[in-house]
Symmetry: C2
Subunit: 104 residues, 2 copies
């Protein structure tokens, strides 16, 4: 099954939410100011795929977890962000609730 690469849409979504330009985000993760805008635009258009180190830096700058960029639907992406803000204890509690009762 050939599926879409979720990175472009997630990256654009998180960048817009963080109200930062492609150029500024590129500079913050270490790109040269002269090429930052074009390189980030390539990532958002899906022409190039960022490597994992660049993705980790973008995740940190945008306040999302690394796995957010790979969520294939919007609700899973939103849940990934909510889970990222939880403590280890809260995550374990949620796991046990979901195993017992599902989402009810």
């Amino acid at each position: 099954m050939v599926r879409e690469n979720p990175i472009p849409i997630r990256l654009k979504q998180a960048r817009k939410k963080a109200k930062i330009t492609q150029k500024d985000l590129g500079i913050k993760i270490g790109m040269e100011p002269s090429s930052a805008s074009g390189r980030m635009n390539h990532y958002e258009k899906g022409r190039h795929t960022p490597d994992i180190t660049a993705l980790q830096r973008m995740a940190d700058e945008l306040g999302v977890p690394l796995n957010y960029f790979f969520c294939e639907d919007d609700s899973a992406a939103e849940l990934a962000c909510l889970i990222d803000k939880m403590s280890e204890g809260e995550k374990e509690l949620l796991i046990s609730k979901l195993l017992k009762h599902g989402a009810d």
Copy 2:
């Protein structure tokens, strides 16, 4: 901040859980039988990083969502798998509960 690439540990974890060898998984995602074991071993050792198409194929074979491979802690990884089994309605319900009450 330099962080570990989570793919190797997640891949090995999901493959062991699915009780499949490196070679068999490699063949299932389209590798040549003669190189499948070595190539999969490189991925699990972190010497090479699979591209997103290979990761999507592995996710499908192992019954995990693509974002599972990028979860940086075990509890987030387990939650990603649980969320992947939910319907869209269940995910939306969980989002609204977490926004209202947190993990309680």
